[in-house]
């Protein structure tokens, strides 16, 4: 694991009025590994993810992709680099069906003149979406109904399938298991491993220490807007992680 990080943040800072959300935060993730990003509420996890996925401008600091400095100013830039994010609120359009959501903003067009006129290739998108869901082992029961009428687990599966389908370098998963039952959670954790095995870097944000220990290769801890610790998951314990999050052990050691 001495590889160069695929995505790296150096000294990111961002203030919202009097609140310092990020205070010189560092972060790095390498290809083909799962990094868990943990921290207490308000530690800056979501802000960091937003900054790295093009949804938030930072006041200062540098983001490097493949070793080169980049400016990820919009989600489109992030997508162009192969970075996708699954947000806590999933960011699906509830009235659209799973296929439409999967290809939203990246519609496959009909060939030739019809495509130039803006006509979409519904069949092609349907096949692509079905493949993506199958690859994930996600049983999306009906490709024709609005995702708003589906269960939380199914919606989660669709959001993750969408991100994984388009991300070929980095996937951010913000609390992907928070709303899920036992079986769906196992499914998501399986998916994370499968995506990693394809060489994609996975950043996994979670409050659930058992899930973090189960699925991650490394753990990075944020506290008060900066990275305070990095652990190899195999050589750490839940107590150590919680201690680093809350700062109790940190001060004592």
């Amino acid at each position: 694991m001495s590889e160069q990080p695929i995505l790296e943040a150096r000294g990111l800072s961002r203030r919202f009025g009097h609140v310092t959300a990020l205070d010189g935060a560092d972060f790095d993730v390498r290809p083909g590994e799962v990094v868990a990003l943990i921290g207490d509420n308000g530690a800056g996890k979501s802000t960091l993810v937003k900054a790295l996925s093009g949804n938030l401008a930072v006041d200062s600091g540098e983001i490097r992709f493949d070793g080169k400095p980049v400016a990820i100013e919009t989600p489109t830039v992030a997508s162009g680099l192969g970075i996708e994010t699954v947000y806590q609120d999933l960011a699906l359009a509830p009235h659209l069906d799973p296929v439409a959501n999967m290809f939203l903003g990246r519609e496959v067009m009909r060939p030739g003149v019809l495509g130039a006129l803006g006509f979409m290739d519904a069949k092609q998108m349907r096949v692509g979406a079905q493949e993506a869901f199958d690859l994930l082992g996600a049983t999306v029961t009906d490709l024709n109904v609005p995702v708003g009428s589906m269960s939380g687990g199914q919606r989660q599966a669709i959001a993750i399938a969408r991100a994984v389908h388009w991300a070929n370098r980095v996937v951010f998963l913000d609390e992907p298991t928070a709303a899920l039952g036992v079986r769906q959670t196992a499914n998501v954790l399986d998916t994370i491993r499968r995506v990693r095995d394809h060489g994609v870097a996975v950043v996994f944000i979670s409050h659930s220490m058992p899930h973090v220990i189960e699925v991650s290769d490394r753990v990075q801890v944020l506290r008060m807007g900066r990275r305070v610790a990095t652990f190899e998951t195999a050589q750490t314990s839940m107590e150590e992680l919680v201690g680093a999050m809350t700062g109790v052990n940190g001060e004592a050691a």
């Binding site: 960011a91 903003g105 006129l117 009906d142």
Partner: protein
């Protein structure tokens, strides 16, 4: 992750669509009038009249359907229509003559005027982030006021003869009035764009979840501006067609137009909360008031009852939409009939 359920069949999907349920209502109304006064109601001549009267509203309805699907509203269409008609009439009067050259000049001027108002609406909604209700209420007043300033409050009644005879009262083919033929073209194009193209897909997505649309990289602001511009442009088309039909700018004649079109769109199953709607539904929603009005007159009931009936249909349609949305939020099926029945049975038990 879960047990594979059979995919919903096409027939159940059609039956669940509100536009289809409303179509049944329309057919029922039509049949009742046909039974009561078949000789005078169910005739080609009378249907021709109904289609002619609904044509201009249908064109406005296309734009309004797009706007409402984005979870917006356009109150300004009636005024923009008047303003566009006035601009078109002014241009044609200045040009003079009764031929197609003059007519085309007027058409272009009218559509451009409507488009300009639509762009103003769109920019204010998308960029200035002012609620559409307020923006279009403002431009409603502005467009009408300016139309009156330009004409000093006196209707212009000089319209090239060719427009009146070929567009206003001509036939497109067979017995189909030209106005209805033109409306049909706009409806078909509007429906195709809405349901088959990327532009339509993005319209639904923005109305369904604007934030999600932004996050996947859709150019939401630009899209909203385009949608309001379409609505304005179609109001321009409606303005010039109204001129052709009535040979007057009818400045005072469109005060209810916006509400009539909105009612039709909503009756047709387009949700005011965005993300849902069809052009087909809008057509059906337009014909319910049109057929009611026509039928009441023929049957000899005071035509004012039409307003009462349409108001009731509107409220029922939105209530059905509410039930549907509530059911969807619970993750359940959206069978409204069983829901209504369920209500009755529980209240009986109490």
């Amino acid at each position: 992750m879960s047990v594979q359920a059979p995919p919903t069949s096409i027939t159940t999907r059609i039956v669940r669509v509100q536009a289809f349920q409303i179509l049944l209502v329309l057919i029922a109304i039509w049949v009742v009038f046909a039974i009561l006064e078949g000789d005078r109601f169910a005739t080609v001549g009378n249907m021709r009249l109904v289609a002619q009267n609904a044509a201009i509203l249908a064109i406005l309805g296309v734009g309004m359907t797009f706007v409402i699907i984005t979870a917006g509203i356009d109150l300004s269409i009636g005024s923009v229509m008047v303003f566009s008609g006035v601009i078109g009439a002014k241009v044609m009067v200045a040009q003079g003559g009764d031929g197609w050259g003059t007519a085309w000049l007027g058409i272009a001027a009218s559509v451009a005027a409507g488009l300009a108002w639509g762009l103003v609406n769109g920019v204010l909604v998308a960029k200035a982030k002012i609620p559409p209700l307020i923006v279009t209420l403002g431009t409603l007043g502005m467009a009408l006021g300016l139309a009156q300033i330009i004409t000093k409050g006196v209707d212009i009644r000089e319209v090239p003869l060719v427009m009146q005879s070929k567009i206003g009262y001509g036939n497109a083919f067979g017995d189909v009035p030209m106005l209805a033929g033109i409306a049909l073209v706009f409806l078909v194009v509007g429906g195709v764009v809405l349901h088959l193209t990327r532009f339509g897909r993005h319209t639904y997505a923005i109305g369904s979840n604007e934030e999600a649309a932004r996050r996947v990289g859709l150019k939401v602001d630009r899209h909203l501006i385009a949608v309001y511009a379409i609505s304005g442009g179609l109001a321009g088309v409606a303005g010039i067609l109204s001129l052709a039909q009535f040979a007057t700018t009818a400045i005072a004649g469109q005060s209810q137009t916006n509400l009539n079109v909105i009612a039709a769109v909503v009756i047709g199953g387009t949700s005011l909360f965005g993300g849902v709607g069809t052009i087909f539904g809008t057509v059906v929603g337009l014909f319910i008031p049109a057929v009611l009005q026509n039928g009441f007159i023929i049957v000899g009931i005071q035509p004012f009852w039409q307003q009462v009936a349409v108001g009731a249909v509107l409220i029922v349609a939105v209530y059905v939409d509410q039930l549907r949305r509530a059911a969807a939020q619970r993750g359940g099926r959206t069978n409204v009939l069983s829901r209504l029945r369920g209500r009755e049975s529980t209240s009986n038990e109490e």
